[in-house]
């Protein structure tokens, strides 16, 4: 039996955009520390959307695919938002210089943190980060999708029982030895 392939892209795009936005946004992104909560949740939400638009029953495979796509979309949105919300290194350095001019001592490891921060802003690191994020989010989203199938997807209808046979007309039986007891 070959069932029709569900339309994965639209639910993945919607759920991925929401999950990526929540992951990359300050404060809300903290909830991603709970095992990529937004991404796993995004995968599950994508399955919910998919089950609404698909008449048939969804399998674990459908959940894994739509969840993985959700994770990939979320990773792109997350990376773009993270770049937008990251503090500007030059501005931070100027603020530190100004503070030290005022006699305020900055923590000893601030300079190394700024250096590593600026190193991670190079295009190479950003691409590496995007690749790793996409890979991990695809796995986590896929997991969320399979979890979503177990929680939200329509369950298979129980097999239809054949109607019971009509009651047979009782045929008179001759009395046997058992009837005599």
């Amino acid at each position: 039996m070959d069932k029709q392939k569900p339309e994965y892209f639209r639910p993945a795009l919607i759920a991925g955009a929401i999950a990526g936005f929540l992951s990359g946004f300050p404060f809300f992104g903290l909830f991603n520390c709970v095992c990529c909560l937004w991404i796993v949740g995004g995968g599950a939400v994508a399955v919910k959307l998919l089950s609404k638009s698909t008449p048939g029953i969804l399998s674990s495979s459908d959940g894994a695919v739509v969840g993985a796509l959700t994770g990939i979309v979320a990773s792109v949105v997350h990376t773009v938002l993270s770049l937008a919300f990251k503090p500007d290194i030059e501005t931070a350095r100027r603020v530190l210089d100004w503070l030290s001019g005022m006699g305020v001592e900055s923590p000893s490891n601030v300079e190394s943190m700024l250096e590593s921060g600026s190193a991670f802003r190079s295009p190479g690191w950003i691409l590496l980060g995007l690749f790793v994020t996409a890979a991990v989010y695809a796995v986590m989203g896929g997991l969320g999708g399979v979890i979503g199938v177990s929680l939200f997807a329509k369950k298979a209808a129980p097999p239809i029982q054949p109607p019971p046979p009509p009651p047979a007309t009782p045929t008179p039986t001759p009395p046997g030895p058992a009837d005599a007891v």
Partner: protein, 172 residues
């Protein structure tokens, strides 16, 4: 679904998890031995998936692990779940855990994490690890089923396409 195929998915997942865990431990070990460049690369690989706050990480060779205690718990729990998978489920059937089991396993970590983020309490790293571990244990029971089912569905589609092609050729 053939048991051999499920076993292959399980084995590959186990290998991937061991490599992932080894990389987490390797980062501080390399940093401790003075291989700063390689260590920085590994820390950067894990940076997008974990906050890496040093106070919340286990320490090795004087350096924090590449992920926090909770993430380490999730990954270690995933590995533990994979180890017990063949004894609990076997390779001959594909079944997802029930919603009740799912809620039971996620509840401790969700409670601990949400309370921590909202500032209600700050749990020690051991608790973070333990709650993450519990949640991670159930994840392979979704992962192996999902990937195995995906491979099986692809195979069935390929067979159906090949049959349709053969039928078309015969008609021609």
């Amino acid at each position: 679904m053939e048991p051999r195929s499920v076993r292959r998915v399980w084995l590959l997942t186990l290998c991937g998890t061991v490599i992932w865990l080894a990389a987490i431990v390797l980062a501080p070990w390399l940093a401790g031995r003075g291989a700063g460049g390689a260590a920085r690369f590994l820390y950067a690989v894990f940076a997008p998936v974990c906050h890496q706050i040093a106070d919340r990480c286990f320490v090795l060779s004087g350096h924090p692990l590449a992920v926090c205690g909770r993430c380490l718990g999730v990954y270690a729990g995933f590995a533990a779940g994979l180890v017990i998978y063949p004894f609990v489920r076997g390779f001959s059937r594909l079944a997802l855990p029930s919603a009740r089991v799912f809620l039971l396993m996620i509840f401790p970590m969700a409670l601990d994490a949400v309370a921590g983020i909202l500032g209600i309490w700050g749990s020690p790293i051991g608790i973070r690890f333990a709650t993450g571990f519990a949640w991670g244990t159930i994840l392979p029971f979704y992962f192996v089923v999902g990937v195995s089912d995906f491979i099986s569905a692809r195979k069935s589609r390929a067979v159906a396409r090949a049959l349709a092609r053969t039928a078309t050729k015969k008609v021609e």
